[in-house]
């Protein structure tokens, strides 16, 4: 019962957040250089025509009405047309094409990162101040300290100089291979459903480098948090009691410490999700994968404002949904959270 209550309460906090994001993006559109009505005019025009255009665009309305119109458009997916990236192409269609690709990469790499990162953090935290711990810490510091784009360049350097050379470096498919029929949003599932296994293996083959470098970026932060949380838990009284009772160390780590150490890590990795998006942009730009990150990057480089505003909006929605699910997950695991 209390879980449902918690979920409802959590859902209620989403609405003001969405409103604030709408206000901020609206503020962004007001900051944009240039007059939107003037931009849409032909070479020669009269003042009356200009006023008419302003009226058509709703620019003569008071600002709160403009905001309401803007809010309706944003919620309805009426995001305008691209300026420069894909000229006069509806932004909604563009984002609908690109978003699933990014979500695929994020999902795969995140599953790998969470699984391995928690293992690594558990390993380091349980053996605090030993050689095992120091080795792991050096590995973690090495990758934590590097921005995503340098990690990726590093991976490319590995590719250039070692037996890994057989991996493809750019793109998401071998040129010349057919696209699978668009049955679902996910390209990988489409490949699977199309019945041609070589399409699936080909796309997974192309994803190895980007996904592994993206996973490393997330893995180190997760294992850092896991290590800290594990060390904190290992100092608790009930762990000492368990030792005193004669429980073996492996069993203590597995059953007593791990379960208590995991919940702050889930909260923190949920909060760190918005930081991961920066890495997503770097991964997609450098490996030339068509996704939201690449689209957003192209848009900011070529000042394609409708795409920028729509991407900010979509990214925020994704982050909000993700945070919501991590909160629900944590409430499901840890009943104490529900009571707060």
């Amino acid at each position: 019962m209390s879980l449902i209550k918690f979920i409802l309460r959590r859902l209620a906090t989403i609405i003001p957040t969405i409103l604030v994001i709408l206000v901020i993006t609206f503020f962004m559109t007001r900051l944009l250089p240039g007059d939107p009505a003037m931009m849409r005019m032909p070479d020669k025009f009269t003042w009356d025509e200009y006023l008419l255009e302003r009226k058509r665009l709703g620019l003569d309305q008071p600002i709160y009405i403009q905001f309401l119109i803007y809010m309706g458009d944003m919620l309805a997916g009426n995001w305008g047309f691209s300026y420069t990236v894909a000229k006069d192409f509806p932004v909604w269609v563009l984002i609908n094409q690109k978003l699933p690709r990014s979500l695929e990469i994020m999902a795969i790499s995140m599953i790998i990162a969470i699984f391995l990162g928690i293992k690594l953090g558990k390993f380091a935290g349980a053996n605090k101040n030993t050689k095992k711990d120091s080795g792991t810490r050096i590995f973690i510091y090495f990758f934590v300290s590097m921005p995503a784009f340098i990690v990726i360049s590093f991976f490319m350097q590995i590719y250039v100089s070692t037996p890994f050379k057989f991996l493809p470096m750019f793109g998401y498919k071998t040129p010349g291979y057919a696209e699978p029929p668009p049955i679902t949003y996910s390209r990988i599932i489409n490949c699977l459903l199309s019945g041609k296994i070589y399409l699936l293996t080909d796309s997974l083959w192309h994803l190895i480098l980007p996904v592994s470098s993206f996973a490393i970026i997330q893995l180190v932060t997760i294992s850092r948090q896991m290590r800290a949380s594990m060390i904190g838990t290992m100092e608790e009284d009930y762990i000492r009691t368990a030792y005193a009772k004669g429980v073996k160390k492996r069993r203590i780590i597995k059953t007593h410490a791990f379960k208590n150490a995991i919940s702050p890590v889930i909260i923190l990795s949920g909060m760190g999700f918005s930081v991961v998006l920066g890495g997503l942009i770097a991964v997609e730009v450098i490996y030339q994968l068509p996704g939201m990150g690449k689209l957003f990057y192209d848009a900011i480089r070529r000042s394609d404002y409708p795409i920028i505003i729509a991407s900010v909006w979509v990214f925020s929605i994704v982050v909000i949904i993700f945070n919501f699910f991590t909160d629900v997950l944590i409430a499901f695991i840890d009943p104490r959270i529900r009571l707060k």
């Binding site: 957040t17 901020i24 900051l31 934590v144 300290s145 784009f149 060390i231 760190g272 942009i281």
Partner: protein
């Protein structure tokens, strides 16, 4: 035993063999408690302060004892001295490092110790000048977020009630945004001068610090000395910034040191994506331009990356060390 006694005697004689004035003052001090009431308390008080100082020093020493933290401290010292004394250390001037050189993507040579990068610019000078840019931006924006974060968190935690809920709900909302995306979008729209970068990165950090401050304030607020300060008629501002703040600053200092490292990464990432003030030398732009020359000029990519990683590692290790030194049981949420 007698041997040791002799030594101590010698030492005391050495100490006392100053001027007569000193000796007399020592004697007076020694018998002051007979003449002035409560003078003993004063001495105890001084001893107590000395002890506290020693404790503090030992905390920092404890931090430096571990080899990890020691390397971190050395790295930060090097970075800061590079940032301050860069113009005297670098072989070329700022204008030359930004200008047109002779040899594009040249290998290391006597004139250019670490080779040259795009437009024949000296890599060594550029990585030295890049230090000050990153560290100055990181420090400025961290101070923006810390000042405003402490202010809002203090008000929210101290006054409580509706003010608390309004401020903290707003902060939670901002915390839920994807910060880097908002920063990129804003910079794309308003242009990426150094002031804009500092302001935006600073604003994004505010909610984190206000949360941290608020939770610390809530802990300290219930202590007795706050109540006694209230009773003795101190006003709210004095209590907030004289009594509560010094006692809740530790977690803020720890996460500041993490945050400087994180901000260096942000600054460099923004520069890599093309959002930087091109008047100032930035490691990110160097990496961006060297990225495609990874095969023919790896040095131009390698050295800026090393500098980025080193500076971030330095601040992170110091953060870890400070956290362990202040309170081994306290674990800061690292972003």
């Amino acid at each position: 035993m007698s041997h040791i006694n002799q030594k101590t005697q010698e030492r005391t004689e050495e100490n006392y063999s100053g001027t007569d004035l000193k000796l007399s003052s020592k004697i007076i001090n020694g018998f002051k408690f007979l003449l002035i009431p409560k003078s003993r308390f004063e001495q105890f008080y001084i001893k107590d302060i000395e002890n506290q100082h020693r404790k503090k020093r030992s905390k920092i020493r404890r931090m430096l004892k571990s080899s990890f933290s020691f390397t971190g401290a050395i790295i930060i010292f090097l970075m800061i001295s590079l940032a301050i004394f860069g113009p005297w250390i670098a072989p070329y001037s700022y204008a030359e490092a930004q200008g047109r050189g002779l040899n594009d993507w040249g290998p290391p040579s006597p004139e250019h110790l670490l080779g040259t990068g795009t437009r024949g610019r000296d890599v060594l000078s550029r990585i030295i000048f890049g230090t000050s840019t990153s560290i100055v931006i990181a420090l400025l924006s961290v101070s923006i977020s810390v000042i405003f974060g402490i202010f809002f968190g203090m008000i929210a935690g101290y006054f409580g009630k509706w003010l608390d809920s309004i401020i903290m709900r707003t902060m939670d909302m901002i915390l839920a945004f994807p910060g880097i995306i908002f920063a990129l979008a804003f910079l794309a729209i308003i242009g990426s001068t150094i002031e804009h970068i500092v302001t935006i990165l600073g604003v994004i950090g505010i909610p984190y610090y206000s949360r941290l401050t608020r939770s610390a304030v809530l802990k300290v607020k219930e202590r007795d000395y706050i109540a006694s300060a209230k009773v003795s008629g101190a006003n709210n501002w004095r209590i907030m910034f004289r009594h509560i703040l010094p006692n809740s600053i530790q977690p803020i200092i720890v996460s500041m040191s993490f945050d400087i490292g994180r901000l260096i990464i942000s600054v460099v990432t923004l520069a890599f994506l093309g959002f930087t003030d091109y008047q100032y030398i930035n490691w990110g732009t160097d990496v961006y331009s060297a990225r495609v020359h990874i095969y023919d000029a790896p040095w131009a990519l390698f050295w800026p990356s090393v500098m980025i990683s080193l500076s971030v590692i330095g601040f992170m290790i110091i953060g870890d060390g400070l956290r362990d030194a202040f309170d081994p049981k306290y674990h800061v949420a690292t972003r």
